[in-house]
């Protein structure tokens, strides 16, 4: 499949997710499942998204349902049907869907969409990252003291950054680093991120020119649903190292 065909497929999946979530209101929106951290909305969105993805010859790795689809497909789609589920349940407008296609050469294309605002980020290998017609470019900040940094978890001690944000969606935070709204993102919790959390945002960042690493320098491009990583992202290499150094666990 071409990247255009895949992005069209992803747009269809995002639309299906949107329709399912919109129908969940009140208590139905907040209902949890027996699985820690999972909401009923995650399960419902996953089912709707997989129906769309099943129209294509792709293998699917989902946060909610693991690996499905043809074993020898040339493309693997890694999807988080709802990234920021707690925000979605509480109607905090910072949650979305993340889809990323991987072929034999690595990350091929990605779509990350904020379900509350409809803002959609897309990226294609070698062709840049975009929100609509606007090409994404990160900030040029190099210094921690000037940086607005999004965190997951809490660093100790608190670094000397300008400000921090704690927003609850890794996929959207990475897109905001790519777009220059944030200068950096750091996960302070060891090995809390599955590939579905960060792969879409990773390609958006890379294509925009931002920098993303695993804290322990492990390979980030993995499809293994059991793999976990600790993501650090920043607008510039200098800031990346400053953020990483300032949030090292003593």
């Amino acid at each position: 499949m071409s990247h255009d065909e895949l992005l069209a497929l992803f747009a269809g999946a995002a639309g299906a997710q949107h329709d399912v979530i919109a129908a969940l209101t009140g208590q139905a929106r907040r209902e949890r499942t027996m699985r820690p951290g999972q909401y009923a909305l995650d399960v419902a969105a996953d089912a709707a998204v997989r129906v769309v993805l099943a129209r294509a010859e792709v293998r699917v790795v989902s946060e909610e349902s693991g690996t499905t689809g043809p074993e020898h497909a040339a493309v693997v789609v890694v999807v988080d049907p709802v990234d920021g589920s707690t925000n979605c349940a509480r109607e905090i407008p910072y949650w979305g869907i993340s889809l990323c296609a991987i072929d034999a050469d690595g990350l091929l294309c990605a779509l990350v969409e904020n379900g509350a605002t409809g803002e959609r980020s897309t990226a294609i290998r070698g062709m840049g990252a975009w929100q609509g017609t606007a090409r994404l470019t990160p900030s040029t900040n190099q210094r921690l003291e000037d940086a607005v940094v999004a965190v997951s978890g809490s660093p100790h001690p608190v670094p000397r950054w300008r400000q921090y944000r704690a927003l609850g969606s890794t996929a959207l935070a990475l897109c905001d680093v790519a777009a220059g709204r944030l200068d950096a993102f750091v996960d302070c919790v060891p090995d809390a991120e599955g590939p579905w959390d960060y792969l879409g945002g990773l390609l958006v960042c890379r294509e925009a020119g931002a920098h993303v690493v695993d804290r322990l320098d492990r390979e980030l491009v993995v499809c293994d649903p059991t793999a976990r990583r600790q993501v650090v992202a920043a607008a510039t290499p200098e800031l990346l190292e400053a953020v990483r150094a300032s949030t090292e666990t003593p």
């Binding site: 109607e91 605002t117 040029t140 978890g153 100790h156 921090y164 927003l167 709204r181």
Partner: protein
């Protein structure tokens, strides 16, 4: 109660004022991003000042005898007075992140009696008057009823404070993450309070905020059934110190316990 003030009428004035400021903020949003790199602060200062002037214009017309203190232009602080943050969340605004508020609070005898927080880019307007309940877009709101382990607290970074206050703040931040389900830091205190009032968040804590940041939002929390104090549990001092703890009764108590133990 404050019998000498017509709080319903003043609430109407405050709503109109916050809406006027919100229109300025909405009209300015987006255009600011490119300007930041050319000249930090200049254009956004215009947006701040323009919003404050819009708010002041409405307040002067609707309540001409009540002094106004605004974040940008300052002003008189009387026994009765308005406190205005015309653009709460300036960093977000600059960077194209839509979590910004316009906050208009009326303080009388050391406590907030009217409060309006507009979220112009997210389409919400919260309002309350003392004794009259809290509302979002016209519908009554209440604080959440979740136990602490299922609760989310919002906080802010005490960037106005001296760096020395980080030693007070950091251990509380760490312990909050262990005590509650999660933490959020969207970057606009007035909205953190409004979202604590309607149960989106369950609590909020921060140090060294301005009266203009908290007067309106804190009244929303109280009128929605929540509790607001300073970090020592004082029911009044937070308005002037800006050291605030707010939330549903259970979460507020748990936050105070975390602070005491930190």
């Amino acid at each position: 109660m404050t019998p000498s003030l017509d709080l319903d009428a003043l609430l109407g004035v405050a709503i109109t004022a916050a809406e006027a400021g919100g229109r300025v903020v909405s009209d300015s949003f987006g255009a600011a991003r490119g300007v930041e790199a050319k000249g930090p602060g200049d254009w956004v200062s215009e947006a701040d000042v323009a919003s404050e002037r819009a708010v002041r214009g409405v307040l002067a017309q609707g309540a001409p005898r009540i002094p106004v203190f605004g974040e940008e232009e300052g002003g008189e602080r009387g026994e009765v007075g308005w406190f205005v943050d015309p653009l709460d969340g300036t960093t977000n605004f600059l960077r194209g992140f839509p979590v910004v508020g316009v906050s208009v609070g009326l303080v009388a005898s050391g406590r907030p009696v009217v409060g309006v927080v507009s979220s112009p880019l997210l389409g919400s307007l919260y309002n309350a008057r003392e004794g009259g309940g809290a509302f979002r877009n016209g519908r009554a709101v209440r604080v959440g009823e979740r136990p602490p382990v299922e609760s989310i607290c919002a906080t802010g970074f005490p960037f106005r404070a001296t760096r020395g206050r980080m030693s007070e703040y950091a251990p509380v931040l760490e312990q909050v993450l262990r005590t509650f389900e999660d933490l959020r830091r969207p970057g606009a205190a007035s909205l953190d309070l409004a979202w604590s009032a309607d149960g989106t968040f369950d609590g909020f804590f921060e140090l060294s905020l301005g009266t203009w940041d908290v007067a309106a939002g804190a009244l929303l929390v109280r009128e929605a059934g929540g509790i607001v104090t300073d970090w020592h549990g004082d029911a009044d001092a937070w308005l002037w110190s800006g050291d605030i703890v707010a939330g549903s009764p259970g979460v507020h108590e748990q936050l105070l316990e975390v602070i005491r133990g930190a």
